[in-house]
Symmetry: C2
Subunit: 328 residues, 2 copies
């Protein structure tokens, strides 16, 4: 595939650039890391864009902040709501807090206390619901009806996508030109933003997506031209269990060069490389792009590739349990 980026699309490179201007004061211009070991393993020169160092530990903060900043004054007065227990909840909480907007997060009543406290720590109000999708959606919708909150979707939103694209924009501004970029795909916000930014900035660039074999709904959706729901995704890459939305499906269908499926073993192996050799704390979803690069090494050999490490929020309790000390 070879696409010329078209500004008439629903999100443009200009939107990503404008998002970057809007959010850069509050976001981390994340570092780009390299590794001679991984360059040897892949046969490429690899530039890792480390969004695990972004605020709240994930790229999600970029889109959440862009979205809250773009609300009308009236919407800001009323506040925002979302239902999530993951990175999006914390990203929206911090983004809202920084801009003086009230955030309410709907979480299942059995959510881990550490996540509840982290989200509260960023200043959000938590409303608990039952542990099922219907209750989450219904509770959030009731809050919208009752208080006039704006519901902020975690990925199927042009403002979220433009914000997510600022990671690839920074990578290309700092280390471009690159021959290709690889991003993971779950709901498709990061991949859509990366496509818009990369194909706009460097029309000849190839953009690949990594997706778990055990949650291959995006791969099948693109193959068949319809959005499949993500049914019982059995993957450790917990950030990639969601299905595409209509906006992300549309952008990805038009521009992505290929989706590479990777096994659970390949994800863990890539994650371990990032921890052991690069000393990066990366969540399983964040290792999926490297797993895809390793799978494509024959094809990519000799090229300059960018890999987006989406985040680093992983439960370390099990690791630190070994250090529990009897006294002191």
């Amino acid at each position: 595939m070879n696409h010329i980026f078209n500004n008439s699309n629903m999100v443009s490179l200009e939107d990503v650039k404008a998002a970057h201007e809007r959010i850069k004061e509050y976001t981390v211009h994340t570092p780009v890391m390299t590794s001679t070991t991984i360059d040897k393993l892949t046969g490429c020169t690899v530039f890792f864009k480390c969004e695990n160092y972004q605020r709240v530990g994930a790229f999600k903060f970029r889109g959440a902040l862009n979205t809250v900043a773009l609300l009308s004054e009236e919407e800001k007065m009323r506040g925002v709501v979302t239902h999530s227990s993951g990175n999006h909840a914390q990203a929206l909480s911090l983004a809202a807090s920084l801009l003086g907007v009230k955030a309410t997060i709907v979480m299942p009543e059995n959510s881990p206390l550490v996540k509840v406290n982290a989200t509260r720590g960023y200043g959000a109000n938590i409303v608990f619901c039952e542990n099922n999708v219907n209750s989450r959606v219904e509770t959030a919708n009731n809050l919208v009806d009752e208080h006039g909150y704006t519901l902020v979707h975690p990925y199927n939103d042009e403002r979220i996508i433009a914000g997510a694209g600022t990671a690839a924009l920074e990578l290309l501004e700092d280390y471009g030109p690159l021959d290709s970029i690889i991003a993971p795909v779950g709901g498709g916000g990061l991949l859509s933003g990366t496509l818009v930014a990369a194909k706009g900035y460097t029309p000849s660039i190839q953009v690949f997506a990594g997706e778990p074999e055990n949650a291959d709904d995006a791969f099948r959706s693109l193959r068949d031209g319809v959005i499949y729901p993500s049914e019982k995704p059995d993957t450790i890459a917990d950030g990639l269990r969601t299905s595409l939305g209509d906006i992300t499906f549309s952008i990805i269908s038009k521009y992505v060069d290929r989706i590479i499926l990777v096994s659970e073993k390949e994800i863990v192996s890539a994650m371990r490389l990032l921890w052991e050799r690069m000393k990066l704390v990366v969540e399983p979803s964040g290792a999926v792009s490297l797993a895809a690069a390793l799978k494509m090494k024959d094809e990519l050999a000799g090229t300059r590739i960018g890999i987006i490490i989406s985040g680093g929020n992983v439960d370390l309790e099990r690791f630190f349990k070994q250090y529990k000390l009897s006294s002191g």
Copy 2:
């Protein structure tokens, strides 16, 4: 204490600068990271010099490379030897390999296979010995006698110290002036190099050391003016179980402002902060400086401090065991 650095000392700032010129082509100019969370916790502006990103995952590579580079041509022809199963062994192996020098590492026969393979992977020849200090020393000395190898001590050597000081030199060149720097102390190589570089570069700077309470031989040695051996050090900071040598004792006695003792719990807590909030894979020894900074927070409030993260080599098997997959 307030010392004016004296160039007539056994290692000078000029030695550190010369070491930096000598090794910079092969070493990583490691990044400096910051964290708003940790700035809030300490009340300081903290600059973390991330030697966990150095080659072989620890600052040790700097001194090993400087030492091998300073050997005479005849010494280089004969080769180097050391007895160690830790970071120094890997550092010396890689340094020798890069400069075309043969390295032999004496390791106890019960060393973990992963360390044996890692050291071999850097090109060294391994000679096994019995699992006690006498056998290690005797085996190494026999190799020196038999083959004319040069024994490279892990820290009590001016060339090692000058190399270790290049980390603080880079930190001050990139982010100085700083009010203080904190480094961990075990055998004292990193602390000595940091003292020489920092007090030479910024005479008014304070340099503190962090040391485990459970391996407090340096603290007691400085207090009493004699070198105490490190007897049965019971600390998770495995890089800090060694005792001072005569050269490191002499430099540290003259220049260090204070040694701060930290408990095992404080070390683990600092390590967890670095992993969870900064997404850095850091070994226990590498967290000791932050533990000291947290302990000194009232005194350091409002100042700019540098913290040397000495390394990131930690056994991740226990963490990744949770991801062992039944199939795939």
